[in-house]
């Protein structure tokens, strides 16, 4: 006898089940989650689940003075915070009509490229760890720490620097700093062949990364993919060259590309970008001593600075892709609206969800790390 309100429960077939990648999982990047449905070990559905890091950056920025926001923006992307400072500063400068001195622009490039190197080293480590290559993870994190040492000397902060401010930079370089940067670049150039032996040319890694999470150029363009992930599909687009900002138009560098569009191609593009960043930094080290002058233009009282009414949409090339801020001023002492267009919103949500479907469980973490998304940027 069954009760009148009895309803049979429909169980899914025994070979289908759900698995949560995150928010506490070694295979997820940051406090983020990917909920997958599996048939056997093949992913049939994937749903990105963010929000674990939501601090309301965009709304918070509307409540703080223009200058105060400099302490907030680097926190939007922990591994690569410098582009956040720079793009916000560029926007405020455009709205306020500020002319940034030449020396400050060169210092910003120095800061940006060091940050790119640190972010790529971190990514190499994280990506390697998803395939069980923990040695490369320790190498990457250790070598990144040498870059953080330089940040500490430069700004006083290792992770969040608040070095770039509207109008220029906070302070000039300490004595002997450029020589120390040069030593670090020499060290990284010596280390790169070791990284090649251990990771980039490792037969097992190549076996695993080739063909994993493959994007075509058409898919990449229609899904809003930018940065190294786009260049790994064969499209040579980089904001530094195609819409130059600061002094990038005075520097010589190549835009590395690959054509396969898979996890291996994305990793190789980042490796080549690291070499290009070293090349850029060498030029900065050579030219910076000859550029004297102030490091900041005169600013109004930051506590009573009413930025003229207007809109600005500056963009820079971060290590993750194209980073833009949409800033609206109504002529007040704080922004009316700030929108962060970070590359990770696309890479960690729509791209990751689509690329995960049809892959096997072994490839989910590698696909995510090869896209190099930054979860706090999704939860902005």
């Amino acid at each position: 006898m069954r009760p009148e309100n009895y309803k049979s429960v429909e169980h899914p077939p025994s070979h289908e089940y759900e698995l949560n990648f995150g928010p506490n999982h070694p295979g997820i990047e940051g406090n983020y989650a990917l909920k997958v449905k599996l048939e056997g070990d093949v992913v049939t559905e994937a749903k990105a689940d963010g929000g674990y890091l939501h601090r309301g950056f965009e709304k918070l920025m509307e409540t703080r003075l223009w200058m105060q926001n400099i302490a907030l923006v680097p926190r939007i992307c922990v591994p690569d915070p410098v582009p956040m400072e720079v793009v916000y500063s560029l926007g405020v400068e455009e709205l306020g009509g500020l002319e940034v001195p030449a020396r400050a622009q060169w210092l910003r490039v120095l800061h940006l490229e060091l940050s790119r190197i640190a972010a790529h080293l971190f990514t190499f480590g994280g990506h390697a760890a998803t395939t069980g290559m923990y040695s490369n993870m320790f190498w990457g994190v250790t070598d990144r720490d040498y870059v953080l040492d330089l940040f500490e000397q430069m700004s006083g902060g290792r992770v969040y620097h608040m070095y770039n401010v509207p109008g220029g930079v906070r302070r000039d370089l300490p004595d002997g700093f450029l020589a120390r940067v040069s030593e670090l670049l020499d060290y990284l150039e010596r280390r790169l062949p070791q990284y090649d032996d251990l990771f980039f040319a490792n037969a097992v890694f190549i076996d695993r990364a080739r063909g994993t999470g493959t994007l075509t150029q058409e898919q990449a363009l229609s899904w809003g993919v930018t940065g190294p992930n786009l260049r790994a599909c064969g499209l040579s687009f980089d904001v530094r060259r195609d819409d130059p900002y600061l002094v990038y138009d005075q520097l010589e560098f190549d835009i590395p590309t690959e054509t396969a569009g898979d996890a291996l191609a994305r990793t190789l593009v980042r490796r080549a970008e690291l070499i290009q960043s070293i090349r850029i930094l060498r030029q900065v080290i050579a030219r910076l001593p000859g550029i004297d002058g102030p490091i900041r233009c005169p600013l109004p009282n930051p506590l009573a600075w009413n930025v003229p009414m207007g809109e600005a949409y500056p963009r820079v090339e971060s290590s993750k892709g194209e980073l833009c801020f949409y800033l609206v001023s109504t002529g007040g002492d704080r922004p009316h609206r700030v929108h962060v267009r970070g590359p990770s919103s696309m890479h960690a949500v729509q791209v990751l969800e689509r690329l995960s479907i049809g892959t096997r469980i072994e490839d989910v973490a590698q696909t995510m790390f090869s896209l190099d998304a930054c979860p706090p940027e999704v939860d902005r």
């Binding site: 089940y17 759900e18 698995l19 999982h25 070694p26 295979g27 070990d41 390697a128 760890a129 998803t130 395939t131 069980g132 290559m133 923990y134 040695s135 320790f138 190498w139 250790t142 251990l198 490792n202 097992v204 890694f205 076996d207 695993r208 096997r360 469980i361 072994e362 989910v364 973490a365 590698q366």
Partner: protein, 300 residues
């Protein structure tokens, strides 16, 4: 053999295996740390780990079969240790042989499958299915290696195998007589340890450490102890079959630590294969090398 001698050996052999296994774990962790540019853990860290885990209070249990499965994990190896001859102690080695040993070495994997199956955690279940799949993969070359060794020595009795090698010196060691089988044996024993590139059933980034995902406290401690026994056991088997066993404790320890060091070095420089790649690779290379080695042995 007097009953009390046997009793002492039954107690001492697993105990020695555990202590030496702890030292081997420490050596592997220190070696790994050096290659990874870290300092590594202090001397007594593996012991601290075991004590800490066993001193934890168990809050939940997944049932009697889960507990029984974990007991099988440890029990299988403890039983295997008394069949593994070491300098000065034979235990049951003369009564048992290689076949008994191989059988006993499968018990921990089956115990793990039984225990983890009770947890109903999908990560654990996937891990176990991967563990049993990779067991199928590495057992094929390993059985061929064992068959070749039995053909060469004319016996499967381990003390006799050691005596024959030690009587003839280095030239009579298995590694000199059947080098191809030794290579295949080294690869398959490394695969038994489930270290990279064969670390498919732990795979933290894929299945959140698989069988260990529902294990904490004493259960995790049991798996840690299992790891000590496992490293010791596979190293001793390789030394017994191919490196002349232990003439004395010094040489014995040197040999088994060298085998573990080779395994550890391989682990540090490779990522992990996918499960299908593990099967393909193990059935292709070590199995091919083992078959070639077997053919050479048969032609002699």
């Amino acid at each position: 053999m007097e009953w009390y001698t046997l009793l002492i050996e039954f107690t001492l052999m697993p105990l020695v295996a555990f202590v030496v296994g702890l030292a081997m774990v420490l050596m592997m962790r220190r070696l790994r740390a050096r290659i990874e540019r870290r300092v590594g853990p202090p001397l007594l860290q593996p012991l601290y780990d075991v004590i800490k885990l066993y001193s934890k209070k168990t809050q939940i249990s997944h049932g009697a079969l889960h507990d029984l499965g974990i007991m099988m994990v440890i029990g299988g190896y403890i039983a295997a240790e008394v069949f593994l001859p070491v300098p000065g102690m034979m235990g049951m080695a003369r009564e048992g042989d290689l076949i008994t040993l191989i059988y006993l070495m499968m018990v921990p994997s089956l115990g793990l499958a039984l225990g983890v199956g009770q947890c109903a955690n999908p990560n654990g279940s996937i891990g176990i299915s991967r563990a049993l799949t990779s067991m199928l993969a590495y057992d094929v070359p390993f059985i061929i290696v064992v068959a070749g060794a039995i053909m060469v020595y004319g016996t499967s009795n381990l003390p006799t195998i050691i005596e024959m090698q030690q009587a003839g010196g280095v030239a009579a060691w298995g590694i000199s007589v059947m080098p191809l089988l030794a290579i295949a044996g080294l690869i398959s024993t490394h695969a038994m340890l489930a270290k990279e590139p064969f670390e498919v059933y732990v795979a933290p980034a894929e299945i959140a450490t698989g069988p260990m995902v529902e294990m904490s406290g004493k259960y995790l401690g049991a798996l840690f102890v299992m790891q000590c026994f496992q490293i010791y056991t596979v190293s001793v088997i390789f030394v017994t079959l191919f490196l002349g066993g232990g003439e004395n404790w010094l040489f014995f320890l040197l040999k088994i630590f060298a085998v573990a060091a080779i395994s550890s070095s391989v682990t540090v420089i490779f990522p992990r294969y996918k499960t299908d790649q593990v099967i393909r690779w193990l059935w292709k290379w070590p199995t091919g090398i083992a078959l070639l080695g077997l053919a050479m042995v048969m032609m002699k």
